[in-house]
Symmetry: C2
Subunit: 344 residues, 2 copies
């Protein structure tokens, strides 16, 4: 088997974490005996410099026909366009906590042990994509953005979330704000789709309450379905639960299963270029890509290696190593992972 | 001195917590030697039954000229209209943690000790009030709500928040999402207003990151300024930090200093009518009202009594008493507070 991916490093810590993750990916590919071609694409301000556009045609041509896109980070410019261009509407953000990191959360260990949430976020519609602009009237200047959802956009992401819930613990919590946003009837639409998934329990929850419950009782959640902006905020709360956004990866899929794989964190300009960024978010995204391809054994190899390295106490700076834990930089962590992979 | 307030009980646990808080308020009024007249108003579905409207004219007439409105809770219907009618744009939500409740948070004690955040939420504009509706086109049916802010609406709430920060620790964190919502330039507008408050540090923060930082490092925050919907979500995270939304109260003020005082929690239908609701959120709202009136000593009396009762280990069910703590219902807690007040 042979795959081709496009790696888009972006800015900030993007290049460091993409390079690091690809090293691990390449070794696993070799160990598993399939082949991987990596092309390099551009997005964001580095693309603007090179091609005069945040999301250049050259990148589109590279991505067309690829098996996946591994993405680093950009500040802004290009990312929303990329997501929209390929209709990557289904953003999967698993929030899982390695046992060895339980005491890294700001939550008490008994609140967080065994945490395993999947956030399903709608990614190409809602308020980031609705009619927007600036204008003015006799009352002065104003700006606006519109949270607009076609019913069918809600239905199609609902089906994905219901499907995921069915494969897991069969509880789907739906973020909504119908007491203030009654024209976006997430509850009703999800419940209608749920008729095809009779074994899944659908639990509508006001988004404000949901944010609170994620901190009070995170273990009670299985799959959380949310629109674009609510999903954005809720998944960062997920990052707080596991102690660092640096650990979380995400997959954004379109209807054909073609996907964009990126960490949940951003460019982290404060630590960019220092070689100390946590590559595990992007690596988690690569794991999701392997799973999407059906390369389950390759995915498991990476996860197992990662767990062993963490269990031995190695930590990047974002996890503020303490006591017996050992501070490592990006390269050291990757070398440790490569060793673990090789020794198996 | 003589004050007149309108008490609006609403639904769910609303009537229980309003009645309970007013008992405490009345005793303090007596002890401090001023006088208080309480009129009873209607809002929400109970108002609909009685007057045929969620927000009846009778309630408006009662509220006109009063010194404050003490409000319980409604599911929906009337509350947004009430806030809008009196232009209660400035919603203050203090998030403070009594020392004796430190171990009630799901966060580790060292993360939460001494927590003292003030959320300043814009309350009468933004997406809950912008153009909204349902419609359809060749792609199907859709619904929409518009997050619309006049620059001046952002500026006036910014001035309030800056003023509050100046009286506190002089750090103002501004929730925004300008990488996806560029037409709502909170950062620039707040920074312009901040020129009149040179001693306040303005720190813009993406709302997703802010939600995360509230869980990772809550102690770093002083005042948080947010638009209506972001403020809604962030203040519920605040409820999670202190262990129960039942503890938080809020004041919503208009430009004349007239205000609506309510708990941050909702109707809690699961426990309504059982007499076990936590009245401390509504009581905290009454404390904010006394402070707004300049009745500082009366406010302090209530806070001190509350701290002593909590320090003795009395807890309502929402705080899941454990070990040496003593479970009390609403009435028992109020009796304990009245005793403490009398004994001083
Ligand atoms: C960079 C930004 C536009 C993006 C988003 O809000 O979608 C990011 O926060 C994310 O969560 O992927
Ligand atoms: C009841 C609801 C409309 C309200 C809001 O979102 O403003 C509530 O959640 C609040 O926070 O006061």
């Amino acid at each position: 088997l042979s795959y081709r991916i496009v790696a888009i490093a972006g800015e900030g810590i993007g290049p460091e974490v993409v390079k690091a993750s690809l090293k691990v990916l390449q070794l696993v590919v070799k160990l598993e005996g399939f082949s991987l071609q990596v092309d390099y694409g551009w997005l964001g301000s580095t693309a603007l410099e090179k091609f005069g556009s945040y999301f250049p045609q050259a990148t589109i041509e590279l991505c067309n026909g690829a098996n996946g896109i591994v993405f680093g980070a950009v500040t802004q410019g290009g990312l929303l366009e990329l997501r929209k261009h390929y209709d990557f509407f289904c953003n999967l953000r698993p929030i899982r906590l390695a046992n060895s990191l339980v005491h890294k959360s700001s939550l008490r260990p008994e609140k967080i042990q065994g945490l395993d949430i999947l956030i399903v976020r709608e990614l190409v519609s809602g308020i980031y994509f609705g009619p927007a602009g600036r204008s003015g009237d006799e009352k002065g200047a104003y700006g606006y953005h519109t949270m607009l959802y076609y019913d069918e956009e809600i239905r199609r992401i609902a089906r994905q979330a219901l499907h995921k819930a069915q494969q897991r613990r069969r509880l789907l919590t739906v973020a909504h704000k119908e007491n203030a946003l009654p024209h976006l009837p997430w509850t009703r639409l999800v419940q209608e789709e749920a008729k095809q998934f009779p074994d899944v329990v659908v639990e509508p929850m006001l988004v404000d309450n949901l944010a609170m419950q994620m901190v009070l009782n995170p273990q009670r959640f299985d799959v959380i379905l949310a629109g674009n902006m609510f999903g954005d905020i809720l998944s960062d709360i997920g990052g707080a639960l596991v102690g660092s956004l640096g650990l979380l990866g995400s997959a954004s899929l379109n209807a054909d299963g073609f996907g964009l794989y990126e960490a949940v964190h951003g460019t982290a300009p404060d630590i960019a270029g220092k070689g100390i960024a946590n590559p595990l978010g992007t690596l988690e995204a690569c794991v999701l890509m392997l799973q999407q391809w059906g390369e389950v054994r390759a995915a498991q190899r990476i996860m197992a290696a990662q767990e062993r390295v963490l269990a031995k106490g190695y930590r990047t700076a974002d996890l503020s190593p303490q006591g017996a834990e050992i501070l490592v930089n990006t390269e050291q962590l990757i070398d440790l992972l490569l060793e673990e992979l090789d020794s198996k």
